[in-house]
């Protein structure tokens, strides 16, 4: 019989570690039997969280398709019957975006980075399609795509921060604040270039001045965190 010195209990033969405290067990006194006499060891088919998520997303995608496809058909019919001005194409692009965003990439990809980038690409495709079909020619190239490029970069940086520094709250916080500032700068520059013909940074400089010190504080906090248990406790997530 194997005895756990930490818990003071006898443990069923076949265990390498105590089921209660996970301390390694030594069977110096008596030889342990090779297998458990209480539980079958064969693992039955277990639904992994990924499979479960995919199954649920599949169901959501089906429901979305069941709603969106008839809506698109009705729009096309109305558009054709009442003059055929082509507005239904814009609606269809919006419906494709609604169906694809978030749900569909998750059915095919595991990596959150890829999922995020596919979502950004879908939005980009929608913007270009809307631009080509609508009366506002050219704005998607001038404003939409640069901003989307910045969003894609933000996705990559966010993913890197979460995968590399998940436990380091300060670094993650600094990254996200930095992403916010970067997006402000890009949007400000792009909009001013498109509307006034030259790059002028206005309100984004205020954002930079406000958020910059916070970024610095987050980095400093992260550097001194390992030395302070109390801070680690307050900032854990």
């Amino acid at each position: 019989m194997v005895f756990c010195r930490s818990c003071g209990v006898r443990v069923e033969p076949g265990h390498q570690a105590c089921p209660l405290c996970s301390n390694p067990l030594t069977s110096a006194d008596e030889a342990a039997l090779p297998t458990s006499q209480a539980f079958a060891r064969e693992r039955e088919a277990v639904i992994s969280p990924d499979d479960l998520l995919r199954r649920r997303l599949g169901a959501i995608a089906l429901v979305l398709a069941a709603v969106l496809v008839p809506t698109a058909l009705v729009c096309i019919l109305i558009d054709v019957l009442y003059g055929g001005s082509g507005w239904s194409r814009l609606v269809i692009a919006l419906l494709v975006l609604t169906g694809g965003l978030g749900v569909t990439p998750r059915l095919f990809f595991h990596n959150p980075l890829v999922i995020g980038l596919v979502d950004v690409a879908l939005i980009g495709a929608f913007l270009v399609a809307a631009d080509l079909m609508g009366p506002w020619h050219g704005w998607s190239i001038g404003i939409g795509l640069p901003i989307l490029g910045a969003v894609a970069l933000a996705v990559v940086l966010g993913w890197l921060a979460l995968s590399q520094y998940r436990e380091r709250t300060g670094f993650v916080l600094a990254t996200f604040l930095g992403i916010g500032v970067m997006l402000c700068l890009v949007i400000d520059a792009t909009v001013s270039a498109a509307t006034r013909g030259q790059v002028e940074l206005l309100w984004s400089l205020i954002a930079l001045a406000t958020i910059g010190p916070l970024i610095l504080t987050a980095v400093i906090l992260q550097l001194i965190l390992p030395a302070s248990n109390r801070l680690r406790r307050y900032l854990h997530w």
């Binding site: 019989m1 756990c4 818990c7 003071g8 209990v9 006898r10 443990v11 069923e12 265990h15 390498q16 570690a17 105590c18 089921p19 209660l20 405290c21 996970s22 458990s36 006499q37 209480a38 539980f39 079958a40 060891r41 064969e42 693992r43 039955e44 088919a45 277990v46 639904i47 992994s48 969280p49 990924d50 479960l52 109390r230 406790r233 307050y234």
Partner: protein, 456 residues
């Protein structure tokens, strides 16, 4: 929509005593179909551990012999337009299955060909897993007692009759498949006192195990010594175990508060203890017939000593285990089921509503479930045939840990079924008894149940 006859039994052409083709779910079973998920299987398990290895062919024969005595377990669960219901199962014979490392999990329960009952065998153990939708612990224990008695008879042991132990070939009493809840309500026209819902309770702070895994840790203790400890404290065995659990949870919560500094705050600690209502209402039903009492402590008022907890649990249980109070709770539940609005709601809407209701009024109000089925009674000829019996509680992803107790002769088996990654409570609980000088023997699937699923 004739699913709400007061007896809960559908009418048949063959007469009132003939087992009907279908039954409505009983009052307490009605919530379970809405909560079904890979983590919330509603299955619990009873295991008889024999002293000799199981012979599968003999077990299958015993099972075939006694299934006719339990027609209300040879059923399938189906989904109707307004409610789920139980349909007599005639298509395939219930077969003995190989056991799994994750008990009570991975069960498809609703629909044609899916059974809410599994009989499993491994090594020296015969296990039955029941969904709470068809019966409670007492009904399941009666079934397993009948099954192992028949198995031992086929092995050559003659067994003397025992009161309350169904035997093969007996006529099935119609009272065994009745829904006993509606018969126990109070017909008051003057209104009834309200029962305020309890506050959200402290629950084990731990991440969940991967979906499909369920860790079971059983501790075998000398029953007579635990009873002696309980007597010394002036409480019953269930009350003593409840007090130990509350004491351990109080320690865990305090430790957590120390770790989290001012971010943490104390919450009430409350157990949910099912009570068998059959003796109280003279019922012979084999379907669900139980209610909960909820002994607990409120550490916001200060730290409790073990003696204070035992005292509080004892008085709470005595106060709540009155027939009139039980009637009040049954009436509230049955009236809710019978309201016109609830009856007219389609099943899929009910599912959504019940999920929301359960979220706010269900397991989050309780820290832990503690179920004690008492002592297993079998014919005296079988005294030497078993080493011990195990009762595994149903999994709950909300309270994460549940505890169940069952005793056979002088072996008390306390089983923790857990979906939490940590084993803090189990550790504290069994250390409490080993520190009292009791010999504790631990069995578990802890090392194997999640080995291949970690990180998935």
């Amino acid at each position: 929509m004739s699913t709400h006859s007061s007896s809960g039994v559908a009418a048949t052409a063959d007469g009132p005593d003939e087992y009907p083709d279908w039954l409505t779910l009983d009052n307490s079973a009605k919530i379970w179909p809405a909560l079904l998920s890979p983590r919330h299987s509603t299955m619990f398990r009873l295991t008889a551990c024999l002293v000799e290895p199981i012979r599968l062919a003999r077990l299958q024969s015993a099972l075939s012999d006694i299934m006719g005595r339990f027609p209300y377990f040879d059923v399938e669960l189906r989904r109707g337009l307004f409610w789920y219901y139980i349909e007599s199962h005639r298509a395939t014979e219930t077969a003995v299955e190989a056991d799994s490392v994750n008990p009570c999990m991975n069960a498809a329960l609703i629909g044609k060909g899916h059974l809410p009952l599994r009989v499993r065998a491994f090594n020296t153990r015969i296990s039955v897993e029941f969904s709470h939708m068809i019966t409670d612990g007492t009904g399941a224990l009666t079934f397993l007692r009948a099954l192992v008695t028949r198995y031992c008879e086929l092995s050559g042991t003659s067994c003397s009759p025992l009161e309350g132990l169904p035997r093969m070939g007996e006529v099935v009493d119609p009272r065994e498949w009745e829904d006993s809840y509606p018969a126990a309500i109070v017909a008051s026209t003057s209104g009834l006192p309200r029962i305020p819902p309890p506050e959200t309770a402290f629950r084990m702070p731990s991440a969940l195990l991967p979906t499909g895994t369920y860790r079971v840790i059983s501790g075998l203790l000398p029953a007579s010594e635990v009873v002696a400890l309980a007597k010394q404290q002036g409480v019953s065995l269930t009350e003593y175990v409840a007090a130990v659990l509350l004491y351990c949870l109080q320690d865990i919560q305090e430790r957590r508060l120390t770790t989290h500094g001012r971010w943490g705050h104390l919450k009430p600690i409350r157990l949910t203890v099912p009570v068998n209502l059959r003796p109280m209402f003279d019922s012979r039903t084999m379907r669900n017939f139980f209610l909960f009492v909820d002994p607990g402590i409120d550490p916001r008022l200060g730290r409790y000593t073990f003696e204070e907890i035992a005292d509080q649990v004892h008085h709470h249980m005595r106060f709540n285990l009155q027939k009139k109070r039980m009637r009040l709770m049954i009436t509230r539940n049955v009236r809710g089921e019978q309201s016109i609005l609830n009856r007219l709601m389609p099943a899929f809407v009910k599912d959504a509503v019940l999920q929301v209701v359960f979220h706010f009024l269900g397991d989050r109000r309780y820290s832990l479930g503690l179920s004690n089925l008492g002592r297993v009674q079998l014919p005296p000829e079988l005294n030497g045939a078993f080493s011990h019996w195990v009762f595994t509680p149903p999994p709950s992803p909300v309270s994460k840990v549940n505890c169940a107790v069952l005793s056979w002769q002088d072996t008390l088996c306390v089983t923790f079924g857990s979906m939490a990654r940590g084993t803090e409570l189990e550790q504290e609980f069994f250390r409490f008894f080993s520190s009292k000088g009791l010999s504790v023997y631990v069995e578990s699937n802890a090392e194997w149940c999640e080995r291949e699923t970690v990180g998935s």
